[in-house]
């Protein structure tokens, strides 16, 4: 358990879910993976399957239809997990906060650990956010390890 969780913290796999983003933040998330920003140097890998993932990156506004999908993806990720809300829309609803089909913020649906501001969030900010998320992840792992030892 200790070994697995520790290696998860050293090389976290992220899954990206686009709730209702304008693509601006999405392409910046993808840009993080590409040679210039290259988050793979932190051991971070982007994958498609939420069951393999440790970190959930959410971009865009939530609406009543994709809320269910978001919750579904979140629940499929094994514990411990970290959620990073990327961009103004994911944090608060952004410019679309007043629209009738928008829920103001991802944190109304699932617990969020890190908020990355910006419209669109810059790759540097996203990397900062993910790295901050990793610290939280480490804390969660330690908490779990303690529990395991306590038992």
């Amino acid at each position: 358990m200790g070994l697995i969780n520790n290696s998860r913290a050293k090389s976290p796999w992220v899954v990206h879910f686009d709730c209702g983003s304008c693509n601006g933040c999405d392409i910046e998330v993808l840009a993080c993976l590409t040679p210039l920003y290259d988050i793979e140097r932190f051991g971070i890998l982007n994958i498609g399957n939420p069951k393999h993932a440790d970190v959930l990156l959410v971009t865009g506004t939530v609406n009543p239809r994709n809320e269910r999908v978001l919750r579904n993806v979140y629940e499929q990720i094994p514990e411990p997990k970290v959620v990073v809300a990327i961009g103004a829309c994911a944090c608060t609803g952004g410019v679309f906060a007043d629209c009738y089909n928008v829920i103001q913020g991802v944190d109304k649906i699932i617990p969020v650990d890190v908020y990355v501001p910006g419209c669109a969030a810059r790759p540097e900010a996203i990397i900062d956010g993910v790295v901050l998320g990793l610290q939280k992840f480490q804390e969660k792992v330690e908490k779990m390890n303690k529990k395991a030892v306590g038992n």
Binding site: F17, D18, C19, G20, S21, C22, N23, G24, C25, D26, I27, E28, L30, A31, T34, P35, L36, G48, P50, G60, T61, N63, R65, N66, V69, V73, G94, V95, F96, D98, C99, Y100, N101, V102, C119, A120, R122, P123
Partner: protein
Amino acid sequence: MGDRRTVIPFGPQHPVLPEPIQLKLVLEDEKVVEALPQIGYIHRGLERLVKVRDFNQMVFVAERICGICSFQHAMSYCLSIERLMNIEVPERADYLRVIWSELHRVHSHLLWLGLMADAFGFEAMFMETWKIREAVVDMMEATAGSRVIISTCQVGGVRRDIAPELLQQIVKLADDVQRRVKAIEHSVLNDYTIKKRTVDKGVISKEQAWKLGAAGPVLRASGVKWDARMIGYAGYKYLNFEPVVETAGDCYARTKVRFREMFVALDLLRQAVAKIPAGEINVKVKGNPEGEAFIQVEQPRGEVTYTVKGNGTKNLEKMHVRTPTFANIPAFLTMLPGCELADVPVLALTIDPCISCTER
């Protein structure tokens, strides 16, 4: 045969789809027989924001309809308001609009090429195209201060000027990108795997494409010579170019059209830099919009139309946007029956879907 049918939900969260859309695919073994889209995952309802935001503020909302072609959304919106208010935009602003539009086109097509490569499983090509794209995005940051949503368009012109040294940099960038894209083009268009997976896949005939209202590269790959830029909005009326047309109408033709369009866009950039006059970049806007306007603008994915209605107050009465992917979905649905399940991602990508545009 009825009992051998399987319904496969494709999406909303799927590795090749950057955005949530669900396709319900009815399969007979590996063959798709029917397809039904289920959209609405990104619907925000931003068109109703016209009641709360005034017509100047709406520019910022309009450019957030889509983060990839954001400048063109802002420009289309501004063009429609300018049409209502009979505003003459200074010539330099017209040229600057062309420059930013074409930068967006190049970056969008490169982005698409990367995603396409990713769908094929060509990871290295994805990285390579996005590396080239990074240079274009850097130029947007240098000229506008932001990488993706550049917010330079306003009603009556543009907000920022581009300095002469930077304009020369754009020409240099165009040459550089052209060289690097040429190198990729050769290996993409002659690759055995790519040919195998794209040639004669998802064929749309010329008549079908026109009748189904397909837009942009999908329309032109089927042999219809139609490009909204020929209408001559913004600075396009001063520049020389020909719409890129292919006749095969399959995935390979659509790939080819996008490659060639990139070169046309780079050429337009060079022309615009060479011809750009000195002068003002915006005019003062007085009064409120009144009347109806219908504007067609060519985006990287195809033709976008803006219908706006003003009633003489600072809030518009109605704004409606029909985006290229909205127009291409019917064409996509007719492509799907008959193809194999493994081809669906490639077919989906050749219409270059932008769901956030579609649903607004």
